[in-house]
Symmetry: C2
């Protein structure tokens, strides 16, 4: 359609030649700064027109080189397989775009080597800021960033090389544990039949959740069962196995189950599916993170949602008044149910 010089992208020189103006004039017009330089409106229009016809498109490489601003905002996430990270990525993209930045989010599969190489790549591309989500040990990445002078924020899992914004896991865990204990009591079951399953023992989020779990019991002056906490790791197969062992040992499932991740929930479902329905239909389940289908499983399910909007907003706020020395830890509250629904509203044509 457009009379493009097929194949080669056009430059401001092409536009200048086509309109008989100088490159400076073209540049000003294309940047919108032409009003300040009292360039004739007619000239401006002619240039704009010609640029469109030539399919001109700023070369951010060149502009970035000159201005030392890339227009890129980076984020690393482990993957997009759960609603939390998917929502985090989505929200990040929206907010980055609304700030005139091009979002670039990369999944690392939680592989530390990939994390480092991705960070280096992003730094090479001269991202103007970097959010690091769900990385077990963000410190090396933080150091790379600060060596490059790039603002860097840890999300979800805190680190000591940069400011962090994470969900208030402890308060959330306490709240959901409270709900589960109440449900247990209402059903005439013992609260110490509640088990916290999944997660990694020495990891921040899990520790906070364990603390919150204990808080809830302490507030009622009761104690959880001595083997109430089982950090079997984050993957589904491990949870399934852990549950199988418990079943073997006690001849039944715990009545109440607090799952440390949606994958632990997956494992739970995989295991219970191998059992006769009446054995598990009565289970009371709570879960950190949520999934649209999980709510319809034949359990009594309570899901805790993280505020992805809040997390991203706080993180961007931190980059605005960025201080390389800052190591603050910002806690963002979690909530039950559909409180943060706006984040994943679906449009008419969606699937």
């Amino acid at each position: 359609m457009a009379s493009t010089n097929q194949g080669r992208k056009s430059t401001i020189y092409d536009v200048a030649k086509a309109t008989g103006a100088s490159t400076a004039t073209v540049s000003m017009v294309l940047n919108g700064t032409w009003a300040r330089y009292r360039i004739k409106e007619e000239t401006a229009n002619r240039i704009l027109e010609s640029a469109r016809e030539l399919g001109y498109n700023v070369n951010m490489k060149a502009r970035g080189l000159r201005l030392s601003r890339s227009g890129l905002a980076g984020m690393v996430v482990p993957h997009y397989r759960n609603r939390f990270f998917a929502g985090l990525a989505q929200t990040f993209e929206d907010q980055a775009r609304s700030r005139g930045l091009c979002p670039i989010v990369v999944g690392t599969q939680r592989d530390p080597a990939v994390e480092v190489s991705v960070t280096e790549t992003l730094l090479s591309q001269r991202v103007e800021l970097l959010f690091i989500a769900g990385v077990r040990n963000p410190t090396p990445l933080n150091e790379l960033c600060s060596a490059a002078g790039v603002p860097c924020i840890n999300l979800d899992l805190p680190g000591d090389g940069a400011p962090s914004v994470v969900s208030d896991n402890r308060a959330g865990a306490r709240a959901i544990t409270d709900v589960l204990i109440d449900k247990l009591l209402a059903r005439g079951e013992a609260p110490d039949d509640l088990v916290l399953l999944g997660g990694v023992a020495d990891e921040y989020a899990t520790e906070m959740r364990i603390a919150g779990f204990r808080d809830a019991f302490e507030a009622r002056k009761i104690a959880p069962s001595p083997d109430a906490i089982e950090c079997c790791g984050y993957n589904a197969a491990a949870a399934k196995q852990a549950l199988a062992r418990r079943y073997e040992k006690h001849g039944r499932l715990p009545t109440g189950l607090l799952l440390n991740s949606i994958t632990a929930f997956e494992g739970t479902v995989q295991f219970t599916a191998t059992l006769p329905p009446d054995v598990w239909k009565a289970a009371i389940v709570g879960c950190f993170d949520w999934d649209p289908f999980a709510a319809y499983l034949p359990f009594d399910v309570t899901m805790l949602r993280q505020d992805v909007q809040g997390i991203i907003a706080e993180a961007f706020a931190l980059t605005e008044k960025y201080d390389p020395q800052d190591r603050s830890l910002i806690l963002v509250p979690t909530a039950f149910g559909k409180q943060f629904e706006e984040a994943e509203q679906t449009k008419e044509f969606d699937r």
Copy 2:
């Protein structure tokens, strides 16, 4: 740690000055091309060392400007909310990285305006190729790319402005319809009690699936019910509503349900959850796309999975021998069950 010039990123000039070598030497060493130029190994080591100390990091903006190669590979997706797009993004990232490109994937929420502006941004960043997934009308985006001389491939939904690689929806639909009819027959139900729900009537994927649905019936020389096909759109609420209307009208649910998307499945579950369990427990359900939890709902569920690995591999292959005139349409087969599991294997520390 490193004796960095805090804040400002170091350049080859810094390294050159620090080592007393010239920028050219530094450049060669840092590119690994130094062996060809017979640079003393000792010099090379000195430079490498110094570069590490200074926290040096190539500026891809400058290199890209010089080489007119950005090292960036772009992909636009609607969102990451289902396993298909999440898997597509993941696989794309892996493959891009293994080709030495930095993957940059952006979600557009299926908003055409966002789609255009994102494409322009990506083109400004001089991506070396662009994959466009799940865009209703990719043609304008294809045109932007070809005007810029950037190889562009449509994924999932075909377009006529570039080559496309899409799932073989028709064959997949036929196969899953076959399975459902067999199950219906095995249970002594009439096959024409099978309903295809969800999707948009004039859209490619839906049309193909309808055709496959009909193929399965024709092969058996039977006909689906006249109102067997209901394209109520892709979102969950619409499916829920459509199902409610049917229930109202017939006083029962169809025994067999083929859902055009995971969101239609969501709507189905939302609706059936409002009914007494015995009314719907017997339902036979099929779905395009899958979800780990959906398999454990109290239905007889069959899920069709798309081969994200295959799709991405084909797309990359197309870019290698890229021909701007090429408009070929490559069909990638789908499969049942966990055939493509490798794509979403989870590691030990995962959630």
